[in-house]
Subunit: 337 residues, 4 copies
C-alpha cells in the first residue's frame, strides 16, 4: 500500500501510521518527493481506520480490500443449490414469476419454466416496494407455496430475504437466499445470511462499485458461508430511457477479481420485455455462469413487473441459444484463419 501525504500537514501522521503498522505486523518506508508531498510505503496490512487522517491525500492499494472474495484466496468456487451446480460450466437458468400470489398459478409457472429449460425456480414472498401502498408479498404463506412448487416440479427455489428476522424462516423453506439490490449494504442482514449454510444470491446495489459489491460478499464469507453467487442486475446512470442499465462489463471484470460465480438478471437490468432476450445472450457471451429471468404464462397479467416478464416460449429460445453460445465460447479453434 502506498499512502500519499501533504507534507505541510504531516505533523504526527508518520508516527501514527508507524504505530498502526507495527500493531498489525507491517513495516513502513517514507519517501520525500521534494514537491511538498511524502509517500509512505506500507509492506503488509494496516487497519483501515488509520487511513483517514486529513494529511493523507490518497491511498493506493497494492492489494484489494477484500481477502476471502479475491482470486488470490481461491481460484474457483462452485455453488450447489439442491442438485444444481452454479459455476461448473453450463449456464444455469433460474426463472419464475416476480411475486408469488397463488399456489396453482405458481406450480403452473414452475412447470412452464422447467419445460423451457430453467433448473432453479425464482419467486418473491417478501417484496421490497418503493411505495408503501404497493403489494408487499405474502410472506410465509408465499414461502409455503414455493415449497409446494418445488415438491411438484423438483426445482430448487431461490427467494429474497429482506431483514435479519426473516432469515431463519426463509432458510427453512428456500434452497437459496437472495439479497436484493436495495439490501446489498444492509450489513446486519449480510452477517445473518453469512451465519447460515444456505447458498446466497447477492445482487449488486444499483449504485455500488465492483469493490463495494465484493466487500459485501466479504461480509458473508467472513461469517463462514462460502456459497455466494454474485448477480448483476443493472446500475443507475444518467440515462433514464431504461429503468436500469445492465452492466455487462462487470462480468469479465469480476472473473479477473474473484472466484465466485456470476449470473445476470436481464429482467430487472433493463425493465423492458423486448430487451430481455438480447441482453441475456449478451450476458452469456460476456462469460456469465447463468441467468435469472422473470417468466410466467400470461405475463401481461403478472401481479408485478409485467413489463419485464417474458413468456416461457421466449425463455425456451433464450435457453437454447445461451447453451449454444456458451459451448461456442469454449471451442478453441472454430475455423482456420
Amino acid at each position: 500500500m502506498i499512502i500519499s501525504i501533504d507534507k505541510s500537514k504531516s505533523n504526527g501522521v508518520i508516527d501514527a501510521l508507524g504505530a498502526a503498522s507495527s500493531r498489525s505486523g507491517a513495516s513502513i518506508r517514507v519517501i520525500d518527493w521534494n514537491d511538498g508531498s511524502l509517500s509512505v510505503n506500507v509492506l503488509g496490512q494496516i487497519e483501515p481506520d488509520a487511513l483517514s487522517h486529513p494529511a493523507i491525500t490518497a491511498v493506493h492499494q497494492a492489494s484489494k480490500p477484500y481477502r476471502l472474495a479475491s482470486k488470490e484466496h481461491r481460484e474457483k468456487t462452485v455453488v450447489r443449490v439442491g442438485d444444481v451446480e452454479i459455476g461448473a460450466g453450463n449456464p444455469v437458468i433460474m426463472a419464475g414469476p416476480c411475486v408469488v400470489s397463488d399456489l396453482d398459478q405458481l406450480v403452473n409457472a414452475a412447470e412452464a419454466v422447467k419445460a423451457a429449460g430453467a433448473i432453479i425456480l425464482r419467486g418473491g414472498a417478501f417484496k421490497p416496494r418503493t411505495s408503501p401502498y404497493s403489494f408487499q408479498g405474502l410472506g410465509e404463506e408465499g414461502l409455503q407455496m414455493l415449497a409446494g412448487a418445488r415438491a411438484a416440479t423438483g426445482l430448487p427455489v431461490v427467494t429474497e430475504v429482506m431483514e435479519p428476522e426473516q432469515v431463519e424462516i426463509t432458510a427453512e423453506y428456500a434452497d437459496m437466499l437472495q439479497i436484493g439490490a436495495r439490501n446489498m449494504a444492509n450489513f446486519p442482514l449480510l452477517r445473518k445470511v453469512g451465519k447460515t449454510r444456505k447458498p446466497v444470491l447477492l445482487k449488486r446495489g444499483f449504485s455500488a462499485t465492483i469493490d463495494e459489491w465484493l466487500m459485501s460478499a466479504e461480509y458473508i464469507l467472513s461469517e463462514g458461508n462460502s456459497q455466494v453467487v454474485l448477480c448483476e442486475r443493472g446500475i443507475r446512470t444518467f440515462d433514464n430511457s431504461l429503468r436500469f442499465n445492465l452492466d455487462l462489463n462487470a462480468i469479465p471484470f469480476l472473473k479477473e477479481l474473484t472466484h465466485l460465480p456470476v449470473v445476470v438478471d436481464p429482467s430487472h437490468g433493463t425493465g423492458k420485455r423486448s430487451l430481455v432476450g438480447p441482453m441475456a445472450l449478451a450476458g452469456i457471451a460476456a462469460g456469465a455462469d447463468g441467468l435469472i429471468v422473470e417468466s410466467e404464462p400470461n405475463p401481461d397479467s403478472a401481479k408485478c413487473d409485467a413489463s419485464q416478464t417474458i413468456e416461457p416460449a421466449e425463455l425456451a429460445a433464450i435457453t437454447r441459444k445461451a447453451m449454444a453460445i456458451s459451448a461456442l465460447l469454449n471451442v478453441e479453434e472454430l475455423l482456420p484463419i
Copy 2:
C-alpha cells in the same frame, strides 16, 4: 394521470385499466391519437401495480406518488427533538464525533460543540462500515455514553439505527433516530421507526431520486409517525474527485414538494474537511433548516472519518455565519436599488 399505450399491443389493457380504476373509484377516458398510440386519462387514484402492462409505454403522473409527505397534504411541519424545534426558523446545528468510543472524550466533545453553537449532539453507536474488518461501533455501550453526554450537557441526542431489532433499544436512549443513507430503502426498518413516536432523521440514499426519498418518508409517515426530518448527505456522480457530491439543488426543490424540514450534512456530503465550511454556508443560503456536522477536539485523531471532521473553533465560525445568512435571507429589502 395519463397513460400512454402502444395500440398494436393494447388488447385487454383498456379493460384492465378500467377495472382497476373502478376498484379505486376512479374513472377513465381514452384518446386515439391516430399515430399508433392511445392515451388513457385517469381521473382519481389507480393501484400502482396496474401500471406495468407491457403495452403501457409511459405513465405521466399528474399528481405525485407520495401523499402524506406532499405539500398538498400539509403546509409545514416543525419537528421537536427534546426542546429543540427543527423547521421553525433559526437553523439548527447538530454536531459531534463520527463514532462514540469513550465517555470522557464524548462528554468533552459534546461540551466543545455546545460551546460552538450546536444544540443537538450526534454520534454513532451502531456503525455501517463497507469493510467487515473496520470498527463497527460499541452498540448499547455507545448508547449509554450518549445518554451520559446528554446528562452532562443537556443536549438531545441523534444516533443511527441500522436494523429493526435495534430500534427499541436505541429509542430508549436517543432523542432522535437516524436512518443512514445505505438504509434509506430498508423498508422493514422504515416501518419499524414509523411505529415509534421518536423523531427520525432520514438521510438520502446516495443514488436515490427525490421521489424515492419522499416515498421512504411516506413509509414512516404512513405508520403514524409525523416527525421526519430529511437530510441531504451527498450523492454519487461520475466525478469521484470527492467522496460524494452534496446536492444542494435538493434543498429548494424539496421546499416546493414537501412540508418536512430539510437539513444538510456537509461532512459526509463532501468527505473533505476544507469543504465543510463553504458547503455548510451554501446549504443555509439554499434554504436548509439546519446542519449536521462531524466535529470534535483533535479531529486528526478521530476514530473514523478524520478527513471530514472539523475542529470546534471552525464549527463556531460556521454557526455564526450560518445564523447571519439565515437572518439575511428573511430580510425583504436589504438595500435600495
Copy 3:
C-alpha cells in the same frame, strides 16, 4: 403530445400554445383535471421553443423528437463503405491502430488486421487529447499514410475528423468519417459532414442519452447525408473501476428506435485489453452490426491506448467467434425443447 400545465400560472399559456400549434397546422384540446392542473393534447407537430413556458410542468411526447432517424421514417438502412456493407447481415469488423505515426508500421498493422478478419481499417490522423501536452496526431500526413495502407491492402479507411475545417481534406483521403464521442454535440461539425456524401461513424457522447444521440444523427440526416452508422463506445457512470462502461443495452434498444446500423467499440468502451474480447462477443450477441477494435502487432509499444489495444491473433479469435454467434442468432430453432 400531451402538455401538463400548472393551472395557477397558466395565464396566457393556452393561447400561446394554440397560436404555436396553428402556425404548424396542429390542433389542441384542453382537459381540466380539477386538481390544479390542466392538460393540453396537441394533435400534430409544435415548435420545440413553445414548450419552455414556466407554467408547463411536463411534456409527454407521443412521438419522438427525431424524424429522419426514426424507424417510422424508414425500416432499415445499409451503409456502404467502399465495397463493404454495414447493416446487411454479417458483422463488419473494423480494426487498426489508435493513431497513425509511420507508414511501414501502418501497412504492417493493416495487413495483420486484414488477415485477422477486419474488412475496414481504422486509424487516427487527428487526435483529440485531454492534455495539450499529449501527441495530437500527424494531421494530413497521417491521412496520406492511411491512403497508402488502403492502396497496399484494399481495405477502406475510417478516420476521425475534429473540426469543420478538416472535413474537406479528410473526405479526400478517407472512405468513412468518424465523429468522436467528444464531438457528438458539435453541431457545426455534424452539419458539415452532413453536407458531404461520405458515410459517417457517429460515436455516442459518453454522457449522451439515446435521444440526444439520435438527435445528433438527425443533424447529419437533415443535411441530406443518409449514410450514418451509430457507434456505442462506453458511457460514464459512478463506477470508475474501468475507464468507461460499454452500454450494450443501447444496441437492442436502438434496433427498436432507428433504421441506422449500430456497431460497438469494446476498446474505448472498457479501456482494458482483457475485457475487449468478452465485450466484443457480448456486443454481437446483443445484436450489433459490427465491431471497431484497436489492434496492431506489438500492442505494448502502441503510441497511444496501449492498455486497450489487442494483438491480431486475439482479433482473429474474436472475429471467428463473432461470426459464429451472429449466425447462431439467426437460427430459428436450434434444438428441440
Copy 4:
C-alpha cells in the same frame, strides 16, 4: 508520480519507463512488493503516452496533470472584461436574455438587468441546440445587436462562440468569449480562443471531471491567453427530476486547485426558475466570484429557456442578497462565542 505494475506482465515496461523518463530529465526508482506487484517512483515529469502500457495497473499522480492552471503556478488571477474585474472581491453579476432576437428588446433587457445590478450583459448570437429544427440564433446580426446594447448601456458583453471559424468575428464584437458546456472538450476551439487576447468564460462540460475541466483551461492558457474564468453550470447525474444538478462542491474545491476565478450559472444549472434565486445565493456562499443569470422583462415570452429565465425584479433581490452574503463571508468575527 507512482506507477503500479503487474510483475507477471512487466517484461520491458521498466526499461520503457526508464527511457521515457530520461527523455524528459526525470529519474525512476523501482520497488518490489513481493506480492506480484512492482512500483516505479518517478521523480520529475514523464510523457503521458508512456503510461498506457497494459502491465501498468494504476498511476498515482503526486502532482496534477495541469501546470499553468494550477495554484502552484500562480496564486490568483483577476480577469478584466471591459472595466469589470472578475475575481477581485465583489461578486460580478452577468445577466441578460438566453438568445438575441431583436435590438429594441435587447436594449430594453440590458437596461433592466443593469438597473438590477448586472455589470456584464450576456446573450446568445450563435446557439447550440439539441434539435436541428430549433431556432439556432441570428449569428453576426445578433453580434451587432449585442454591440448596440453595449453602446446603449455601457455594459461589456459576453457571448458564446461555437466553432473555430466564428472566433474572429465574435471577438470583433464581444468583450468576452464563452465556450459552452458541449464544447468544453472541443480542443481546436479552445486553441483558437487561446490565440486571441479576449477573456474567456469556460463552462464545465456536464459530465466533465474537475481535472478534465482544468485541462481544457490549460489548452487556452498554453496558447498564451491567461484570461480564463471557469463557470459551473450543472452536471448530469442519475437524478433527472431537474434538467441538471448545479455542482457547488466544485466552487470551494477549485479554489484549492486553481488561481482562476469561478462563477456559477444557476439558470442552466437547475433549469427551473424557482430554484435560480436560492442556488445563486448558495453559490456565492460557497465562494463563487460571480453569477451568470438568464433574465429579461416578460420571461414567459422568452424565445428560449423561458422556464429558467427570471424577471429583473428577482435579479435585483438576488444581487442585493449576494452582495450582503459576500461581505459577510469576509468578516472574521461576527459575534463573540
